[in-house]
Symmetry: C2
Subunit: 198 residues, 2 copies
Amino acid sequence: MNRGKTFIISGPSGVGKGSVLRVLLEKRKHIYVSVSATTRPQRPGEEDGVHYHFLDVETFRQRIARDEFLEYAEYVGNFYGTPKEFVDTAMEAGRDVILEIDVQGALQVAAKRPEAILIFIAPPSWEELERRLTLRGTDSPEKIQKRLLRAKVECQTADAYHYFVINDTLENAAAELDAIMTAEHCKSRERMEIINGN
Amino acid sequence: MNRGKTFIISGPSGVGKGSVLRVLLEKRKHIYVSVSATTRPQRPGEEDGVHYHFLDVETFRQRIARDEFLEYAEYVGNFYGTPKEFVDTAMEAGRDVILEIDVQGALQVAAKRPEAILIFIAPPSWEELERRLTLRGTDSPEKIQKRLLRAKVECQTADAYHYFVINDTLENAAAELDAIMTAEHCKSRERMEIINGN
Protein backbone atom coordinates (compact mmCIF):
# COMPACT_ATOMS: atom_id res chain seq x y z
CA MET A 1 0.00 0.00 0.00
CA ASN A 2 1.20 3.52 -0.80
CA ARG A 3 1.71 6.00 2.01
CA GLY A 4 -0.77 8.84 2.21
CA LYS A 5 0.29 12.42 1.56
CA THR A 6 -0.06 15.56 3.66
CA PHE A 7 -1.99 18.50 2.22
CA ILE A 8 -1.97 21.80 4.07
CA ILE A 9 -4.95 24.09 3.49
CA SER A 10 -4.67 27.74 4.45
CA GLY A 11 -6.62 30.83 3.58
CA PRO A 12 -8.05 33.96 5.13
CA SER A 13 -10.81 33.89 7.70
CA GLY A 14 -14.18 33.90 5.93
CA VAL A 15 -12.91 32.44 2.65
CA GLY A 16 -14.90 29.24 3.20
CA LYS A 17 -12.20 26.65 3.93
CA GLY A 18 -14.51 24.58 6.13
CA SER A 19 -17.31 24.49 3.54
CA VAL A 20 -14.93 23.56 0.71
CA LEU A 21 -13.49 20.75 2.85
CA ARG A 22 -16.97 19.41 3.58
CA VAL A 23 -17.70 19.14 -0.16
CA LEU A 24 -14.29 17.52 -0.74
CA LEU A 25 -14.86 14.96 2.03
CA GLU A 26 -18.04 13.77 0.32
CA LYS A 27 -15.87 12.76 -2.65
CA ARG A 28 -12.89 11.49 -0.65
CA LYS A 29 -14.21 9.81 2.44
CA HIS A 30 -10.87 8.22 3.23
CA ILE A 31 -9.15 11.53 4.09
CA TYR A 32 -8.01 12.14 7.67
CA VAL A 33 -8.59 15.75 8.72
CA SER A 34 -6.13 16.52 11.49
CA VAL A 35 -7.56 17.54 14.86
CA SER A 36 -5.51 20.18 16.69
CA ALA A 37 -4.42 19.97 20.28
CA THR A 38 -5.13 23.00 22.49
CA THR A 39 -4.80 24.19 26.06
CA ARG A 40 -7.84 26.43 25.83
CA PRO A 41 -10.80 25.32 27.99
CA GLN A 42 -13.30 22.89 26.47
CA ARG A 43 -16.59 24.62 25.60
CA PRO A 44 -20.07 23.14 25.91
CA GLY A 45 -20.81 20.89 22.94
CA GLU A 46 -17.13 20.32 22.12
CA GLU A 47 -15.88 16.75 22.17
CA ASP A 48 -12.33 15.81 23.13
CA GLY A 49 -10.62 14.21 20.12
CA VAL A 50 -13.26 15.52 17.69
CA HIS A 51 -13.16 19.30 17.89
CA TYR A 52 -9.78 19.43 19.64
CA HIS A 53 -7.51 17.27 21.72
CA PHE A 54 -7.76 19.14 25.02
CA LEU A 55 -4.50 19.17 26.97
CA ASP A 56 -3.33 20.96 30.10
CA VAL A 57 -0.48 23.42 29.73
CA GLU A 58 2.04 21.14 31.43
CA THR A 59 1.32 18.23 29.06
CA PHE A 60 1.40 20.56 26.05
CA ARG A 61 4.83 21.91 27.08
CA GLN A 62 6.19 18.39 27.58
CA ARG A 63 5.02 17.43 24.11
CA ILE A 64 6.70 20.53 22.63
CA ALA A 65 9.90 19.48 24.41
CA ARG A 66 9.59 15.97 22.94
CA ASP A 67 9.04 17.43 19.44
CA GLU A 68 5.62 15.83 19.18
CA PHE A 69 4.00 18.67 17.20
CA LEU A 70 4.32 19.32 13.47
CA GLU A 71 3.64 22.96 14.32
CA TYR A 72 2.37 24.93 17.28
CA ALA A 73 1.67 28.49 18.29
CA GLU A 74 0.39 30.50 21.22
CA TYR A 75 -2.65 32.77 20.76
CA VAL A 76 -3.95 34.99 23.54
CA GLY A 77 -2.46 32.78 26.25
CA ASN A 78 -3.47 29.40 24.82
CA PHE A 79 -1.40 26.86 22.91
CA TYR A 80 -2.59 25.27 19.67
CA GLY A 81 -0.70 22.57 17.79
CA THR A 82 -0.84 19.70 15.29
CA PRO A 83 0.10 16.38 16.92
CA LYS A 84 2.48 14.34 14.76
CA GLU A 85 1.19 11.01 15.98
CA PHE A 86 -2.27 10.96 14.36
CA VAL A 87 -0.95 12.39 11.09
CA ASP A 88 1.75 9.72 10.83
CA THR A 89 -0.60 6.88 11.75
CA ALA A 90 -3.09 7.95 9.08
CA MET A 91 -0.39 8.32 6.40
CA GLU A 92 1.08 4.92 7.20
CA ALA A 93 -2.41 3.48 6.77
CA GLY A 94 -2.44 4.98 3.25
CA ARG A 95 -4.78 7.85 4.11
CA ASP A 96 -4.20 11.36 2.82
CA VAL A 97 -4.11 13.93 5.60
CA ILE A 98 -5.44 17.47 5.57
CA LEU A 99 -4.15 20.09 7.96
CA GLU A 100 -6.22 23.26 8.05
CA ILE A 101 -3.71 25.69 9.54
CA ASP A 102 -2.53 29.26 9.06
CA VAL A 103 0.43 30.46 6.99
CA GLN A 104 2.82 30.54 9.97
CA GLY A 105 1.92 26.98 10.93
CA ALA A 106 2.18 25.83 7.32
CA LEU A 107 5.73 27.15 7.08
CA GLN A 108 6.67 25.27 10.28
CA VAL A 109 5.27 22.02 8.84
CA ALA A 110 6.98 22.63 5.48
CA ALA A 111 10.33 22.96 7.27
CA LYS A 112 9.85 19.58 8.99
CA ARG A 113 8.09 17.84 6.12
CA PRO A 114 9.29 19.29 2.82
CA GLU A 115 7.11 16.75 0.96
CA ALA A 116 3.91 18.34 2.35
CA ILE A 117 1.76 20.02 -0.30
CA LEU A 118 0.71 23.60 0.49
CA ILE A 119 -2.59 24.86 -0.91
CA PHE A 120 -3.85 28.38 -0.40
CA ILE A 121 -7.56 29.07 -0.73
CA ALA A 122 -8.18 32.62 -1.84
CA PRO A 123 -11.35 34.65 -2.31
CA PRO A 124 -12.37 35.64 -5.85
CA SER A 125 -11.93 39.28 -4.76
CA TRP A 126 -11.51 41.35 -1.63
CA GLU A 127 -15.01 42.76 -2.10
CA GLU A 128 -16.40 39.22 -2.06
CA LEU A 129 -14.43 38.34 1.09
CA GLU A 130 -15.80 41.45 2.81
CA ARG A 131 -19.30 40.46 1.72
CA ARG A 132 -18.87 36.93 3.13
CA LEU A 133 -17.49 38.20 6.45
CA THR A 134 -20.40 40.64 6.70
CA LEU A 135 -22.98 37.93 5.86
CA ARG A 136 -21.53 35.68 8.56
CA GLY A 137 -22.73 38.34 11.00
CA THR A 138 -20.27 37.44 13.77
CA ASP A 139 -17.92 40.43 13.55
CA SER A 140 -18.23 44.19 13.98
CA PRO A 141 -17.38 46.38 10.95
CA GLU A 142 -14.04 47.25 12.62
CA LYS A 143 -13.25 43.58 13.18
CA ILE A 144 -14.10 42.85 9.53
CA GLN A 145 -11.71 45.55 8.34
CA LYS A 146 -9.00 44.05 10.56
CA ARG A 147 -9.66 40.59 9.11
CA LEU A 148 -9.49 41.98 5.57
CA LEU A 149 -6.16 43.63 6.23
CA ARG A 150 -4.83 40.43 7.78
CA ALA A 151 -6.13 38.46 4.77
CA LYS A 152 -4.27 40.73 2.34
CA VAL A 153 -1.03 40.33 4.29
CA GLU A 154 -1.53 36.54 4.40
CA CYS A 155 -2.04 36.38 0.63
CA GLN A 156 1.15 38.33 0.10
CA THR A 157 3.12 35.92 2.28
CA ALA A 158 1.80 32.82 0.50
CA ASP A 159 4.78 32.54 -1.87
CA ALA A 160 5.76 29.17 -0.48
CA TYR A 161 2.41 27.65 -1.43
CA HIS A 162 2.37 25.15 -4.28
CA TYR A 163 -1.22 25.72 -5.34
CA PHE A 164 -3.76 28.53 -5.26
CA VAL A 165 -7.43 27.63 -5.33
CA ILE A 166 -9.92 30.44 -5.78
CA ASN A 167 -13.15 29.80 -3.92
CA ASP A 168 -15.59 31.31 -6.41
CA THR A 169 -18.06 28.47 -5.88
CA LEU A 170 -17.73 25.62 -3.37
CA GLU A 171 -18.09 23.05 -6.16
CA ASN A 172 -15.30 24.57 -8.29
CA ALA A 173 -12.96 24.95 -5.34
CA ALA A 174 -13.61 21.40 -4.09
CA ALA A 175 -13.13 20.02 -7.63
CA GLU A 176 -9.78 21.80 -7.86
CA LEU A 177 -8.66 20.43 -4.48
CA ASP A 178 -9.74 16.97 -5.60
CA ALA A 179 -7.76 17.35 -8.85
CA ILE A 180 -4.67 18.53 -6.96
CA MET A 181 -4.79 15.46 -4.71
CA THR A 182 -5.17 13.13 -7.71
CA ALA A 183 -2.35 14.86 -9.58
CA GLU A 184 -0.01 14.72 -6.58
CA HIS A 185 -0.49 10.97 -6.43
CA CYS A 186 0.46 10.75 -10.12
CA LYS A 187 3.80 12.37 -9.26
CA SER A 188 4.81 9.59 -7.01
CA ARG A 189 8.13 7.93 -7.81
CA GLU A 190 6.53 4.83 -6.32
CA ARG A 191 4.54 4.54 -9.51
CA MET A 192 7.65 4.28 -11.64
CA GLU A 193 9.09 1.77 -9.23
CA ILE A 194 5.96 -0.34 -9.61
CA ILE A 195 6.29 -0.15 -13.38
CA ASN A 196 10.00 -0.83 -13.58
CA GLY A 197 9.72 -3.55 -10.97
CA ASN A 198 7.17 -5.50 -13.02
CA MET B 1 -6.86 35.71 -20.59
CA ASN B 2 -4.30 33.27 -19.21
CA ARG B 3 -1.86 31.60 -21.56
CA GLY B 4 -2.38 27.91 -22.22
CA LYS B 5 0.13 25.35 -21.02
CA THR B 6 2.01 22.63 -22.88
CA PHE B 7 1.54 19.02 -21.80
CA ILE B 8 3.74 16.33 -23.31
CA ILE B 9 2.32 12.82 -23.39
CA SER B 10 4.67 9.90 -23.94
CA GLY B 11 4.41 6.19 -23.40
CA PRO B 12 5.25 2.89 -25.05
CA SER B 13 3.68 1.75 -28.27
CA GLY B 14 0.43 -0.11 -27.51
CA VAL B 15 -0.16 1.54 -24.13
CA GLY B 16 -3.26 3.31 -25.47
CA LYS B 17 -2.17 6.98 -25.64
CA GLY B 18 -4.50 7.74 -28.55
CA SER B 19 -7.53 6.19 -26.84
CA VAL B 20 -6.86 7.99 -23.56
CA LEU B 21 -6.52 11.29 -25.43
CA ARG B 22 -9.86 10.74 -27.21
CA VAL B 23 -11.61 10.31 -23.84
CA LEU B 24 -9.80 13.38 -22.46
CA LEU B 25 -10.80 15.50 -25.48
CA GLU B 26 -14.47 14.77 -24.81
CA LYS B 27 -14.04 16.52 -21.44
CA ARG B 28 -11.69 19.26 -22.62
CA LYS B 29 -12.77 20.28 -26.07
CA HIS B 30 -10.63 23.40 -26.04
CA ILE B 31 -7.30 21.49 -26.14
CA TYR B 32 -5.08 21.83 -29.20
CA VAL B 33 -3.43 18.51 -30.08
CA SER B 34 -0.26 19.32 -31.98
CA VAL B 35 0.03 17.96 -35.53
CA SER B 36 3.55 16.86 -36.48
CA ALA B 37 5.35 17.86 -39.66
CA THR B 38 6.92 15.07 -41.71
CA THR B 39 8.79 14.46 -44.94
CA ARG B 40 7.39 10.97 -45.39
CA PRO B 41 5.02 10.58 -48.35
CA GLN B 42 1.33 11.30 -47.79
CA ARG B 43 -0.69 8.04 -47.70
CA PRO B 44 -4.19 7.57 -49.11
CA GLY B 45 -6.78 8.92 -46.66
CA GLU B 46 -4.30 11.22 -44.90
CA GLU B 47 -5.09 14.92 -44.91
CA ASP B 48 -2.42 17.61 -44.91
CA GLY B 49 -2.66 19.61 -41.67
CA VAL B 50 -4.83 16.98 -40.00
CA HIS B 51 -2.77 13.79 -39.82
CA TYR B 52 0.53 15.53 -40.56
CA HIS B 53 1.85 18.71 -42.10
CA PHE B 54 3.52 17.21 -45.19
CA LEU B 55 6.74 18.98 -46.14
CA ASP B 56 9.48 18.28 -48.67
CA VAL B 57 12.97 17.60 -47.31
CA GLU B 58 14.32 20.97 -48.45
CA THR B 59 11.58 22.90 -46.61
CA PHE B 60 12.00 20.73 -43.50
CA ARG B 61 15.76 21.39 -43.43
CA GLN B 62 15.21 25.14 -43.83
CA ARG B 63 12.82 25.10 -40.90
CA ILE B 64 15.34 23.21 -38.78
CA ALA B 65 17.91 25.87 -39.66
CA ARG B 66 15.46 28.62 -38.63
CA ASP B 67 14.79 26.82 -35.31
CA GLU B 68 11.12 26.43 -36.17
CA PHE B 69 10.69 23.03 -34.47
CA LEU B 70 10.23 22.36 -30.76
CA GLU B 71 11.77 18.95 -31.44
CA TYR B 72 12.55 16.83 -34.49
CA ALA B 73 14.08 13.49 -35.36
CA GLU B 74 14.87 11.33 -38.35
CA TYR B 75 13.42 7.81 -38.56
CA VAL B 76 14.26 5.44 -41.40
CA GLY B 77 15.10 8.28 -43.74
CA ASN B 78 12.17 10.58 -42.96
CA PHE B 79 12.04 13.67 -40.76
CA TYR B 80 9.36 14.19 -38.13
CA GLY B 81 9.00 17.33 -36.03
CA THR B 82 6.74 19.53 -33.89
CA PRO B 83 6.26 22.99 -35.48
CA LYS B 84 6.55 25.79 -32.90
CA GLU B 85 4.16 28.08 -34.70
CA PHE B 86 0.85 26.25 -34.10
CA VAL B 87 1.76 25.45 -30.50
CA ASP B 88 2.53 29.09 -29.71
CA THR B 89 -0.57 30.42 -31.48
CA ALA B 90 -2.80 28.02 -29.51
CA MET B 91 -1.15 28.88 -26.18
CA GLU B 92 -1.46 32.60 -26.82
CA ALA B 93 -5.17 32.03 -27.49
CA GLY B 94 -5.41 30.48 -23.99
CA ARG B 95 -5.61 26.89 -25.23
CA ASP B 96 -3.72 24.07 -23.56
CA VAL B 97 -1.57 22.13 -25.99
CA ILE B 98 -0.87 18.40 -26.03
CA LEU B 99 2.19 16.99 -27.78
CA GLU B 100 2.14 13.22 -28.18
CA ILE B 101 5.83 12.52 -28.70
CA ASP B 102 8.49 10.01 -27.63
CA VAL B 103 10.92 10.36 -24.73
CA GLN B 104 13.74 11.72 -26.91
CA GLY B 105 11.44 14.38 -28.37
CA ALA B 106 10.08 15.23 -24.93
CA LEU B 107 13.57 15.91 -23.61
CA GLN B 108 14.26 18.21 -26.57
CA VAL B 109 11.08 20.17 -25.82
CA ALA B 110 11.85 20.28 -22.08
CA ALA B 111 15.25 21.83 -22.85
CA LYS B 112 13.61 24.62 -24.91
CA ARG B 113 10.48 24.99 -22.80
CA PRO B 114 11.29 24.13 -19.18
CA GLU B 115 7.73 25.06 -18.20
CA ALA B 116 6.31 22.17 -20.30
CA ILE B 117 4.67 19.44 -18.21
CA LEU B 118 5.84 15.89 -18.98
CA ILE B 119 3.40 13.03 -18.46
CA PHE B 120 4.32 9.41 -19.01
CA ILE B 121 1.54 6.90 -19.68
CA ALA B 122 2.54 3.44 -18.51
CA PRO B 123 0.85 0.06 -18.79
CA PRO B 124 -0.44 -1.58 -15.59
CA SER B 125 2.07 -4.40 -16.23
CA TRP B 126 4.33 -5.73 -18.98
CA GLU B 127 2.05 -8.75 -19.37
CA GLU B 128 -0.86 -6.42 -20.06
CA LEU B 129 1.16 -4.42 -22.62
CA GLU B 130 2.11 -7.66 -24.39
CA ARG B 131 -1.56 -8.66 -24.40
CA ARG B 132 -2.61 -5.31 -25.91
CA LEU B 133 0.08 -5.46 -28.60
CA THR B 134 -0.97 -9.03 -29.45
CA LEU B 135 -4.68 -8.07 -29.57
CA ARG B 136 -3.87 -5.22 -31.95
CA GLY B 137 -2.82 -7.91 -34.40
CA THR B 138 -0.52 -5.67 -36.45
CA ASP B 139 2.86 -7.04 -35.34
CA SER B 140 4.63 -10.39 -35.55
CA PRO B 141 5.60 -12.07 -32.24
CA GLU B 142 9.24 -10.99 -32.84
CA LYS B 143 8.16 -7.38 -33.44
CA ILE B 144 6.07 -7.48 -30.25
CA GLN B 145 9.08 -8.68 -28.22
CA LYS B 146 11.14 -5.82 -29.72
CA ARG B 147 8.42 -3.31 -28.80
CA LEU B 148 8.29 -4.68 -25.25
CA LEU B 149 12.03 -4.34 -24.81
CA ARG B 150 11.90 -0.80 -26.19
CA ALA B 151 9.01 0.00 -23.82
CA LYS B 152 11.01 -1.18 -20.79
CA VAL B 153 13.99 0.94 -21.80
CA GLU B 154 11.68 3.95 -22.35
CA CYS B 155 10.14 3.55 -18.89
CA GLN B 156 13.58 3.44 -17.33
CA THR B 157 14.57 6.69 -19.05
CA ALA B 158 11.43 8.52 -17.96
CA ASP B 159 13.05 10.09 -14.88
CA ALA B 160 12.53 13.60 -16.21
CA TYR B 161 8.75 13.12 -16.35
CA HIS B 162 6.66 15.02 -13.83
CA TYR B 163 3.73 12.63 -13.77
CA PHE B 164 3.10 8.94 -14.34
CA VAL B 165 -0.35 7.85 -15.37
CA ILE B 166 -1.08 4.13 -15.40
CA ASN B 167 -3.53 3.17 -18.13
CA ASP B 168 -5.44 0.45 -16.30
CA THR B 169 -8.76 1.68 -17.72
CA LEU B 170 -9.23 4.50 -20.25
CA GLU B 171 -11.61 6.30 -17.88
CA ASN B 172 -9.15 6.26 -14.96
CA ALA B 173 -6.24 7.33 -17.10
CA ALA B 174 -8.22 10.14 -18.76
CA ALA B 175 -9.49 11.30 -15.34
CA GLU B 176 -5.93 11.46 -14.05
CA LEU B 177 -4.79 13.46 -17.09
CA ASP B 178 -7.73 15.79 -16.58
CA ALA B 179 -6.82 16.23 -12.88
CA ILE B 180 -3.18 16.93 -13.76
CA MET B 181 -4.23 19.68 -16.18
CA THR B 182 -6.54 21.25 -13.59
CA ALA B 183 -3.87 21.05 -10.87
CA GLU B 184 -1.21 22.60 -13.12
CA HIS B 185 -3.47 25.58 -13.69
CA CYS B 186 -3.83 25.96 -9.90
CA LYS B 187 -0.05 26.34 -9.66
CA SER B 188 -0.02 29.42 -11.75
CA ARG B 189 1.66 32.46 -10.22
CA GLU B 190 -0.83 34.40 -12.32
CA ARG B 191 -3.47 33.39 -9.82
CA MET B 192 -1.63 35.03 -6.96
CA GLU B 193 -1.14 38.11 -9.08
CA ILE B 194 -4.87 38.25 -9.71
CA ILE B 195 -5.54 37.95 -5.98
CA ASN B 196 -2.92 40.44 -4.84
CA GLY B 197 -3.88 42.83 -7.60
CA ASN B 198 -7.50 42.98 -6.47
